[in-house]
């Protein structure tokens, strides 16, 4: 694992990727500090942090697109398969390297409130809790990006899909407000989502029975649920989207609430997508 971690880190910092990622984030941070803290004199560093979250949409795909896709393209994955390493060690090694690269601009963020406090009052607790949430969000998005990178041989495709996935996460809550809240449309939306998941499972596993089974069981469960408690479906999609949007759940940290469920949720997302990335790499061996 450490061998892979070292290699990945070296690769980030032997090429431009690591530096560009850090420099871009630090540059954006500077702009927002200037706007919020200097020009407008807000004592709330968390505004800066919340604003730069948006730029993960650009930086995370750049960070994660190469991770596995490039290995496949250069056929270096064969080396990894042939080495006495488990897929888990390899994927976690890669992920930890990303986590460390993500930490570089975060480290800069950590110093900022201290520097700013020389020039006025800074609310330290919310500043640091929002930086913490910012890092967690980055880790979760990186896990998603790593998984997406493991699905394709093409870096660009990986980057675009990761961007779209992050964009959907970002816009989810905003779009959710426009969704009709009545029970029937909620039911239909869930039915469609299950259908899409079924198709995705079929696409990834190429197994008709597994995908069909999941699809039928889930749709049936949904239908039964709908029959027995129609009222609980009212506005359900809206609620669910708000709960699962990675970007929305960092809000509590900005308001000064240390939201443990959010932390658990982020960690769950990270584990889920690392697990999926491992499976996706493992699957190549079986196809």
């Amino acid at each position: 694992m450490t061998a892979v971690l070292k290699r990945e880190l070296a690769s980030y910092f032997n090429s431009m990727t690591g530096y560009v990622f850090a420099a871009f984030t630090i540059f954006i941070t500077g702009i927002y500090i200037m706007i919020y803290c200097f020009k407008n004199g807000y004592p709330y560093f968390e505004y800066v942090v919340k604003s730069i979250e948006f730029f993960y949409l650009i930086t995370i795909p750049v960070l994660t697109m190469r991770a596995v896709a490039e290995e496949k393209r250069q056929k270096t994955d064969q080396l990894l398969y042939a080495l006495p390493l488990s897929m888990t060690q390899i994927v976690i090694g890669k992920y930890l390297a990303m986590a460390i690269v993500l930490l570089v601009p975060v480290a800069e963020l950590l110093i900022m409130p201290v520097i700013l406090s020389n020039y006025g009052n800074v609310v330290m607790a919310t500043s640091y809790s929002s930086i913490f949430a910012y890092y967690l969000l980055g880790l979760a998005l990186a896990a998603i990006g790593l998984f997406i990178s493991s699905l394709t041989e093409n870096q660009l495709v990986a980057a675009v899909i990761t961007f779209v996935a992050a964009l959907v996460c970002y816009l989810m809550t905003g779009l959710a407000t426009y969704i009709p809240t009545d029970a029937v449309s909620s039911y239909i939306s869930f039915a469609v989502i299950i259908l899409l998941i079924g198709i995705a499972v079929w696409f990834l596993t190429k197994n008709k029975y597994a995908a069909g089974g999941i699809l039928i069981v889930a749709e049936a469960a949904l239908f039964i649920l709908y029959l027995f408690s129609k009222t609980s479906f009212e506005g359900l999609l809206h609620k669910v989207l708000n709960k699962i949007s990675l970007f929305a759940i960092t809000d509590n940290f900005i308001y000064g609430i240390f939201d443990l469920t959010a932390v658990v949720y982020f960690i769950t997302v990270i584990f889920l997508f690392i697990f999926l990335a491992i499976q996706s790499m493992e699957k190549r061996r079986w196809s």
């Binding site: 250069q74 270096t76 398969y81 080495l83 390493l85």
Partner: protein, 342 residues
């Protein structure tokens, strides 16, 4: 050392490897031959644990590759068809990474790598980025990667592809050297290469093992049917007459092979006749002599010049072509039969 039992790999509907069984003994160089798409790379990938098998087992030094992958993989150094190199590293960094991944003691890594780089003669480029190296050097870095950790089994998929003749000779002698205290399995399209460096040859076609023998035995086996090309300065009639007299001493079954149909007269060179006779009869000889002696003398007595006498060598190439061609034909018929059944 490497035991492959009843290996089957199915890609969708196609059987890439079909019931392959063979044993590889210690400290020998094995050549893996087969036409494109025969399943060479697939088999190598399965042996090294890069691919799963649909059926069958692979044991490396007593460790099953599927049951105990880490122990088994530690016994193997593998160079895939396309050397798996990280372009943004130098050979030294790359080999260090491989050594770390193979869990070699930290203190011994620099000296081990130094030795391998010397063996594969890449010391002079050790600090250049791999992406800037020529194909030959990349290939050698790949081989060096396979040697890290001194594994008892070394598997090389077409190790000399893309090298210049001098490098090919160097790599071949390196492989020969390795064969003294490693088990080496290599695949190749170049038959002369396999012939010159391998102790044993495995020929596969359509995922099936069709020959497993030493190069000498393989060629010997097929030499029996090979022919001698003779060119003499005389008319066809005369040549037939001489040969008939010469062959008169042979049993009838042997005589059949020599027939005037084989003789051809080439008029624009004057009166010359080219014909073929089987080079090796049952005992390789006519009345205890090499057939070439008898032919030379028989024509010499009639004062006819023998212009040319060359055996059509049964090279490994011919063996290979013959073996793989017949098996594809069989397969083809089998497929047809299957289709009819359906």
């Amino acid at each position: 050392m490497v035991e492959v039992k009843n290996l089957v790999k199915v890609y969708g509907r196609k059987k890439a490897v079909d019931g392959l069984t063979f044993n590889v003994e210690e400290n020998q160089v094995y050549g893996f031959l087969g036409p494109n798409g025969a399943g060479k790379s697939t088999t190598m990938n399965i042996i090294t644990g890069c691919l799963s098998a649909t059926e069958g087992t692979v044991c490396i030094n007593g460790h099953d590759i599927f049951e105990e992958p880490y122990e088994a993989k530690r016994q193997i150094g593998y160079l895939p068809e396309q050397p798996p190199l990280y372009m943004d590293m130098t050979p030294k960094e790359y080999l260090t990474f491989v050594a770390q991944a193979k869990k070699i003691k930290k203190a011994s890594i620099p000296s081990a790598i130094e030795g391998i780089m010397r063996k594969t003669s890449i010391l002079n480029v050790k600090d250049r980025l791999i992406k800037n190296l020529s194909k030959g050097y990349k290939q050698r870095v790949g081989i060096a990667g396979a040697l890290v950790g001194n594994p008892p089994v070394i598997i090389l998929d077409e190790p000399t592809v893309g090298l210049d003749p001098k490098q090919i000779i160097e790599i071949r002698s390196l492989i020969k050297e390795l064969g003294k205290n490693h088990t080496v399995i290599l695949s190749s399209h170049i038959l002369s290469e396999v012939n010159s460096i391998c102790d044993k040859i495995l020929i596969i076609s359509r995922g099936k093992l069709i020959a497993d023998d030493t190069p000498e035995n393989l060629t010997k086996h097929f030499r029996e049917g090979s022919m001698l090309n003779v060119l003499v300065r005389c008319g066809m009639e005369t040549a037939i007459e001489v040969m008939d007299k010469l062959m008169a001493g042979l049993p009838a079954s042997e005589k059949n092979i020599w027939s005037s149909e084989n003789a051809k007269t080439d008029t624009h060179l004057g009166e010359v006749t080219r014909f073929k006779v089987p080079l090796y009869n049952e005992n390789n000889t006519i009345e205890g002599k090499d057939i070439r002696d008898s032919i030379f003398k028989a024509f010499g007595e009639r004062n006819i010049t023998v212009l040319e006498m060359s055996p059509e060598k049964a090279s490994l190439e011919q063996v290979f072509l013959e073996l793989t061609a017949s098996s594809t034909e069989e397969e083809y018929h089998e497929d047809e039969a299957e289709e009819e059944e359906m």
